[in-house]
C-alpha cells in the first residue's frame, strides 16, 4: 500500500511517500524535509506535492495517511494534523495519528532501551522511553531535563536506558549520561513504521487529536479590579 506521511510537531516540516507491503519494512519512495519552525503552513503542502511527484504517485493512488500527533509546542503541530485530516477527508482514505516520539524511536537503530526527547520549549522536553523490543514503556510526558534524568536513575532504572535520540538529545546527553544516537527529526519511514500495525490490519484510525500534554495558558479573571483611587 502507498502511504503519505506528515509531521510538523518539531521544527522540521516533514512529508514523504512510503510503500508498506506485506510484512516487509516500510520503504521510502520520496521525501521532503525542511527544518524551519516558522515555515510549517507555508511548506507542508508543497512538500507533499513534491514528494508525490518524485515518487511518481498520484494523490488518488494513496491508500492511507499517517500524521505525527506530537507532542509538540509549536502552533505548527496543528498544521500537519489539519492537513492530514483535510487530505484524508477529501480523498476518502483513513488518517492514522502516531506519536512523533514513537516515529523517532522507530527510525532509531538502538540496542538496549532508548529515551527519545524533543524540545517542549520553556526549558522542558517531551520524552518517551522504549524497551529493547521497541515498545513504548514510559511517556509521552513533558518535564524539565533534570526531572527526566532523576526518573532515569530512579523509577526507570530497571529498564536500563543507555541511549538517547531526538532533536535535543545532544543538548542533554551529558545530564542524562546516555549515548547519543544520530536520529533527530521524525522521518516518513519512522512515521509509517510506528503506524504499521493499524495500517496492515486496516484498523479504524484513532481520533486525530494532538498530544498537547499541557493545558492552554489562560487564567480565569478574578474579582473585578478597582479603577478608582481609594
Amino acid at each position: 500500500m502507498l502511504v503519505l506521511a506528515l509531521d510538523t510537531a518539531t521544527p522540521a516540516v516533514t512529508a514523504g511517500v512510503v510503500a508498506l507491503d506485506g510484512d516487509a519494512p516500510p520503504e521510502l519512495l520520496a521525501e521532503r524535509v525542511t527544518v524551519d519552525p516558522r515555515a510549517h503552513t507555508e511548506l507542508l503542502t508543497p512538500h507533499v506535492t513534491a514528494a508525490l511527484d518524485e515518487a511518481g504517485v498520484r494523490l488518488d493512488q494513496l491508500d492511507a495517511i499517517v500524521c505525527g500527533s506530537g507532542p509538540g509546542p509549536f502552533t505548527g503541530l496543528r498544521v500537519g494534523m489539519v492537513t492530514g485530516a483535510a487530505l484524508g477527508q477529501a480523498l476518502g482514505i483513513p488518517v492514522h495519528p502516531v506519536s512523533t516520539l514513537d516515529a523517532i524511536a522507530y527510525a532509531t537503530p538502538f540496542h538496549t532501551s532508548l529515551l527519545v526527547v524533543t524540545d517542549a520549549r520553556r526549558r522542558e522536553v517531551y520524552w518517551s522511553v522504549y524497551c529493547d523490543q521497541g515498545w513504548r514503556v514510559a511517556g509521552p510526558h513533558v518535564d524539565k531535563p533534570d526531572v527526566v534524568a532523576a526518573k532515569l536513575a530512579d523509577e526507570l532504572e530497571p529498564i536500563g536506558v543507555t541511549e538517547v535520540s531526538g532533536p535535543v538529545a545532544q543538548q542533554h546527553a551529558e545530564l542524562f549520561g546516555l549515548t547519543v544516537l544520530p536520529t533527530t527529526y521524525p522521518t516518513p519511514v519512522g512515521l509509517v513504521g510506528a503506524a504499521a500495525w493499524p495500517l496492515r490490519e486496516g484498523a479504524e484510525p484513532e481520533p486525530l487529536t494532538p498530544l498537547y500534554l499541557r493545558q492552554p495558558d489562560a487564567v480565569e479573571p478574578g474579582a473585578r479590579k478597582r479603577v478608582s483611587q481609594a
Partner: protein, 345 residues
C-alpha cells in the same frame, strides 16, 4: 461559478459556499459555523490556544456539513477561498493549512483573502453588488474600522480604526463590570432597552477638535463605566444597571455612527455598509438608520448571521476575486496577520 470559503481567524470555524451569477449577484448555498465561544466564556475573552484547538477539531465536520447542505462535493466547486489574515496567528494557520490541503486534494485553485474585506463582501450576498464607492463600518469583538471601499477587489483604504479596544471588547468588559455574561453584546443590548440612554453622560472617545476624526477609542469609556459603578457602590445605592447599560450603549452607538457619517460626507459617498458582530446591536442599527436617512445615505446591513464571522463572507469575497480575473495564491501561501485589504496588492 461556485466558491467555497473557509474562515478560522478568531473563535468561529466557518465553511460557506456561494454561487456567483454572471450579473454579479450571489446565491448562498451553505453557511456552516462551529463556534468555540462557550469555551472562552469563563476567561472573559477569546483564548487563542483554545480557539486554535477547537478549529482543528471542527474543521473536517464543518466542511462535511457545508458540502452536504449545498448538495455538492469538493470536486464540483470551482475555487476555494480562505481567510489568510488578519486574525489570531495560530487560528488562521489551521484554516490556511486545511484550505491548502482541500485545494491540493481537489485540484481547485486557492485564494487567500482578507478577513475585513470579507466582512464587507458579506453584504453583497444579501444586497447584491456594491456601488463603485461606499463606506464600511466594521464593528465586532476584534475590529472597529472605517474603510473607504472603491471596489472590493480594487481599492480599499482604512481611514480609521480603534487606537485601543475594539467596540465588542468594550461590551465584554462592561458586561463584566455589570455582572452580565460573556459575550457582552446581547445581554447589554437587552438590558439597555429597559434603561434611559440619557441617564449618564459617558464620554465619547476621540471626539475632540484635535482628535483623529475617524479613529476610535473605547478604553476610556470602559474605565468611565467602571468608575461610575464603583462610586455608586460606595454610597451603598443600588446600581441602576439598565440605565448604565443604556447610557454605555448610547455612547458607543453615538461615536460609531457620528464618525461614520462624517467620514461618508467628507469622502462624498452615499452608501454605508455596517458589518461585524456589533452590527447586530439594536441601538447602533437604529441610530445608523436615523442618521443615514437624515444625511441622505443608503444604509446596508447584512442580517446578523452574515455580520458575525462566517465562511460565507469569505466565499463571497473569493467569488468576487475569482471574477476579477486574479491569479490564485501561490502554493506557499501562509497565514499573514498583516495581509493587505485588497487581494494581490
Amino acid at each position: 461559478m461556485i466558491v467555497l470559503g473557509i474562515e478560522t481567524s478568531c473563535d468561529e470555524t466557518g465553511v460557506g459556499i456561494v454561487r456567483r451569477h454572471a450579473d454579479g449577484t450571489l446565491e448562498l448555498l451553505a453557511d456552516e459555523v462551529a463556534s468555540s465561544v462557550e469555551e472562552h466564556a469563563r476567561f472573559g475573552g477569546v483564548v487563542p490556544e483554545i480557539a486554535s484547538r477547537a478549529h482543528l477539531q471542527a474543521m473536517a465536520p464543518t466542511m462535511r456539513r457545508a458540502l452536504d447542505t449545498a448538495g455538492l462535493e469538493l470536486s464540483t466547486v470551482d475555487a476555494i477561498a480562505v481567510t489568510a489574515g488578519p486574525g489570531l496567528a495560530g487560528a488562521l494557520m489551521v484554516g490556511v493549512a486545511a484550505a491548502k490541503a482541500y485545494s491540493t486534494a481537489s485540484g481547485k485553485p486557492l485564494y487567500g483573502v482578507n478577513h475585513l474585506a470579507g466582512h464587507v463582501a458579506a453584504d453583497t450576498i444579501e444586497h447584491g453588488p456594491l456601488p463603485p464607492r461606499c463606506l464600511a463600518l466594521l464593528v465586532s469583538g476584534g475590529h472597529s474600522q472605517l474603510l473607504l471601499v472603491e471596489g472590493l477587489t480594487e481599492k480599499i483604504t482604512e481611514i480609521g480604526a480603534t487606537i485601543d479596544d475594539a467596540a465588542g471588547e468594550a461590551y465584554d468588559k462592561v458586561a463584566r463590570i455589570l455582572g452580565l455574561p460573556y459575550p457582552g453584546g446581547p445581554p447589554i443590548d437587552k438590558l439597555a432597552k429597559q434603561g434611559n440612554p440619557r441617564a449618564i453622560a459617558f464620554p465619547r472617545g476621540l471626539t475632540g477638535q484635535r482628535d483623529a476624526p475617524f479613529d476610535f477609542s473605547f478604553s476610556g469609556l470602559k474605565t468611565a463605566v467602571a468608575r461610575w459603578v464603583e462610586k455608586h457602590e460606595a454610597t451603598g445605592a443600588e446600581i441602576p444597571l439598565a440605565d448604565v447599560a443604556a447610557s454605555f450603549q448610547e455612547a458607543v452607538a453615538d461615536v460609531l455612527t457620528a464618525k461614520a457619517i462624517r467620514a461618508a460626507r467628507e469622502h462624498e459617498v452615499d452608501t454605508m455598509v455596517i458589518s461585524g458582530g456589533v452590527a447586530a446591536n439594536s441601538r447602533l442599527g437604529e441610530l445608523a438608520r436615523e442618521r443615514c436617512a437624515e444625511a441622505g445615505i443608503t444604509l446596508r446591513v447584512p442580517r446578523p448571521r452574515l455580520c458575525t464571522d462566517n465562511g460565507a463572507m469569505i466565499a463571497a469575497l473569493g467569488a468576487h476575486v475569482v471574477a476579477s480575473g486574479a491569479k490564485p495564491s501561490p502554493a506557499t501561501l501562509a497565514a499573514d496577520t498583516s495581509l493587505p485589504l485588497v487581494y494581490g496588492s
